[in-house]
């Protein structure tokens, strides 16, 4: 969708109202399907079943078990209806194929409109139902409320989100509003101004970049007003806006801030609630658009007349603001592309949350089993191991458990010292504990992993130093560990 808007911008063409509504309708249905899945199948189980329940029950089946079969059916239906609308307007569910410069290849018929409207009413009901479920199970339970309001998952960062001309939440169009950790609006930017606002920081241990607010600056993985770290999520969209524009969502929006003690809300666990409020908003918007008299009009494309050059498109994806920037030649063939995708916006904050939550939940060496996702049995005892693949900190740490002594010999290319230089590092010299991973998004640095391992009381006491050797070859990673058994 951001791509479709970027292409319109490349051709400097403003599509007709019907087209904009059709795309927003497709998008609202997509939000309903995605938010429903996210809440019920991915994130909600921790809440509905209970964060201390055994891992095996914390899934969609656990939810069905707890609140009845009816819900499982609703989730599947929400996906089905959402997908039906996407297919009607976009042709394909994933990577819709109907957007062309200035509009769509096809409109919808009155018959399709009626069907879409009917599904929309059902989705509104689902929105109300989900918020009621959240209220009954979570808000009325003080343990949960304390968990949400508690400090464990709180980061005082900046928030961004797309808003309309009245500063109300909008998923499809408008400007991006940026608010500071105190809730003051720093400003709003139009898509083509994004480079004045957002810059990207890179770290050697991850392919993914860390976008941050250029005007504030990159200060590392820290929160606060001085740090340019921001988030773009359901929570941030509510924080960055002044309200919502559909009939019933505003009540829920107000209640959210009243319950959680005013704006902005920094507690990350409140994101689940924010997601459900957005679910209701999206469903209501779905019905509004499906009942607009112009939605079935044939005027769904403006033929571009300008030569294509460069353009930026921004929409809200379920997990964050999506920015697409394209440059093309005069035939409209892309020559350069820059994308900032939803979750990427939140990468720095995710690193901070994982670190903070691990420290809080793993106390005095005892892990609360219910709260940690099972990573398999880490108690591997190894004598000498030669690893050729790239390993993240967690996997490397697992291999060090119970060793009497560990020496890590690593060959890396730093571009600072001549190749072949041998240097000795203490553990504390290894990169920042808050830093991320080397091999996968779910991993972390060795120093951080060892810290976590020690908190869990795994026997990691004897790791005293790491020898880092700069060898001419880049590919070898050799790890030696003395026999423990």
């Amino acid at each position: 969708m951001a791509g479709a808007k970027a292409v319109d911008a490349v051709y400097d063409v403003d599509p007709p109202r019907t087209e904009k509504m059709l795309r927003e309708l497709l998008y609202s249905a997509y939000f309903v399907a995605d938010h429903t899945t996210h809440f019920y199948a991915l994130a909600g189980p921790d809440f509905v079943i209970g964060p201390d329940a055994p891992i095996v029950e914390r899934n969609i089946l656990g939810i069905i078990h707890k609140v009845g079969l009816e819900i499982g059916g609703k989730v599947i239906l929400a996906r089905k209806f959402g997908h039906n609308v996407i297919e009607m307007i976009g042709g394909k569910i994933i990577h819709p194929c109907t957007s062309i410069p200035g509009g769509l290849t096809k409109g919808i018929t009155e018959e399709q409109r009626q069907e879409i409207e009917k599904m929309g009413h059902w989705a509104v009901e689902l929105g109300h139902f989900s918020l009621k479920l959240f209220e009954d199970i979570v808000l009325k339970n003080s343990t949960y409320l304390d968990l949400i309001l508690g400090d464990i998952y709180t980061h005082r960062t900046y928030y961004i989100g797309l808003v309309d001309e009245n500063n109300k939440v909008n998923f499809y169009d408008g400007k991006v509003s940026v608010v500071d950790p105190e809730g003051n609006r720093l400003g709003k930017y139009a898509p083509k101004e994004y480079t004045d606002w957002i810059a990207e920081h890179v770290e050697p241990w991850t392919y993914l970049k860390f976008p941050y607010l250029k005007k504030v600056g990159w200060k590392g993985f820290v929160d606060g007003k001085e740090s340019g770290v921001y988030i773009a999520t359901p929570l941030s969209r509510l924080n960055a806006a002044d309200g919502m524009a559909t009939p019933r969502a505003p009540e829920e929006y107000e209640k959210f801030y009243k319950t959680l003690g005013g704006k902005p809300v920094h507690q990350r666990l409140a994101t689940h609630w924010a997601r459900l409020i957005e679910l209701l908003y999206a469903a209501e918007r779905w019905v509004e658009l499906a009942t607009d008299p112009e939605i079935t009009s044939d005027n769904f494309r403006t033929i571009p007349t300008e030569k294509p050059t460069e353009g930026v498109g921004i929409v809200e994806a379920p997990r964050g603001t999506l920015t697409h920037h394209y440059w093309t030649d005069e035939r409209g063939i892309a020559t350069r592309v820059n994308l900032i995708v939803g979750t990427t916006n939140n990468y720095a904050s995710l690193q901070m949350s994982t670190n903070k939550a691990a420290r809080a939940l793993i106390k005095g060496g005892k892990v609360n089993e219910g709260r940690l996702t099972d990573k398999g049995n880490p108690f591997k005892k190894l004598c000498i191991q030669i690893e050729k693949a790239s390993l993240g900190g967690l996997s490397l740490m697992e291999k060090l458990i119970d060793a009497d002594q560990t020496i890590i010999v690593d060959a890396i290319d730093t571009h600072q010292f001549p190749k072949g230089t041998v240097r000795i590092f203490k553990l504390k010299d290894l990169p920042d504990l808050n830093s991320g991973h080397t091999a996968s998004i779910h991993d972390t640095s060795l120093a951080n992993a060892i810290e976590v391992g020690r908190l869990i009381c795994w026997n990691l006491i004897n790791i005293f130093q790491a020898f880092v050797v700069y060898l001419p070859a880049k590919q070898s990673v050799l790890m030696l560990s003395n026999c423990a058994i």
Binding site: R79, G91, I94, C97, T105, K106, T373, D374, D413
Partner: protein, 254 residues
């Protein structure tokens, strides 16, 4: 085979957008009966547990760095059947577009003066690294096709992937050919099976399912030239999903 007699299957991802894995999850929602006859031992997109004992491996994503190769080879060693899932794994897909620019330029464009920190090479289909038994084409894969492929594999049959051009499906749907409306379309050389979705919605086919075994490239080129396209235009249309295949063709011809 697991102790309950069900074949074990596993899903893996390399350089991809995860759209194909999401489609798998969607297909399984529509066909939960499949879960009664197989055991999924690894599927990062859907579950936490990880089993290393499997007979059928579905691989999403292209291979885009040398350090991916050992992981792919390990999968090949373990699995009796390896299936490429979607255009990235099957063709290299959009990732392979990178090959149209010098690799160093691409790295510098993305990571600036830190380009050297990152390992990468020209993205390629997994068949360029390991033997692949079957491919489920498409970007993303078709939900129903995924189910029929799994069913065929369980029955020990060859998966029913069509090997005729998209135009056949398009005609069966009664569509008016896009060429008559002044648009271009790769339907004549593209593998059918998606139900000709794009032309049915008025958009050109860009061959996300790859080419048929014996495409008539010469007549396709004539049609495109007749439609007023320059060689440059033709190259850009042909390289949306199939840069790797086009480059191979060019190399074969010298």
């Amino acid at each position: 085979m697991s102790s309950n007699g069900k074949p074990k299957i596993a899903f893996f991802d390399f350089t991809s957008c995860e759209g194909c894995q999401l489609t798998v999850i969607d297909s399984l929602q529509d066909h939960p009966e499949l879960l009664n006859v197989v055991e999924i031992v690894q599927f990062r997109e859907a579950m936490t547990e990880k089993g290393e004992d499997y007979q059928i491996a579905f691989v999403e994503g292209s291979c885009s760095r040398a350090s991916d190769e050992p992981r792919l080879k390990k999968i090949r060693q373990q699995a009796a059947i390896v299936v490429a899932l979607g255009a990235c794994a099957h063709l290299g897909g959009v990732n392979a577009l990178k090959a149209l620019h010098p690799l160093d330029e691409v790295r510098k464009y993305v990571y600036g003066d830190k380009a050297d920190w990152y390992e990468t090479y020209d993205a390629r289909p997994i068949s360029a690294v390991i033997d692949v038994d079957y491919a489920i084409p498409g970007c993303p894969i078709d939900r129903n096709e995924f189910i029929s492929v799994v069913k065929a594999l369980l029955l020990g049959k060859k998966p029913p992937i069509p090997d005729y051009p998209l135009c056949v499906e398009c005609k069966l749907k009664g569509n008016v050919c896009l060429y008559t409306k002044g648009q271009v379309c790769l339907g004549p050389v593209t593998r059918a099976g998606c139900g000709a979705i794009c032309p049915s919605f008025g958009a050109s086919c860009e061959a996300c399912r790859g080419f048929i075994t014996n495409p008539n490239d010469n007549s396709m080129r004539e049609v495109l030239i007749e439609a007023g396209l320059t060689v440059e235009d033709i190259t850009s249309i042909y390289t949306m999903f199939t840069t790797y295949q086009v480059r191979e063709k060019i190399q074969q011809k010298g």
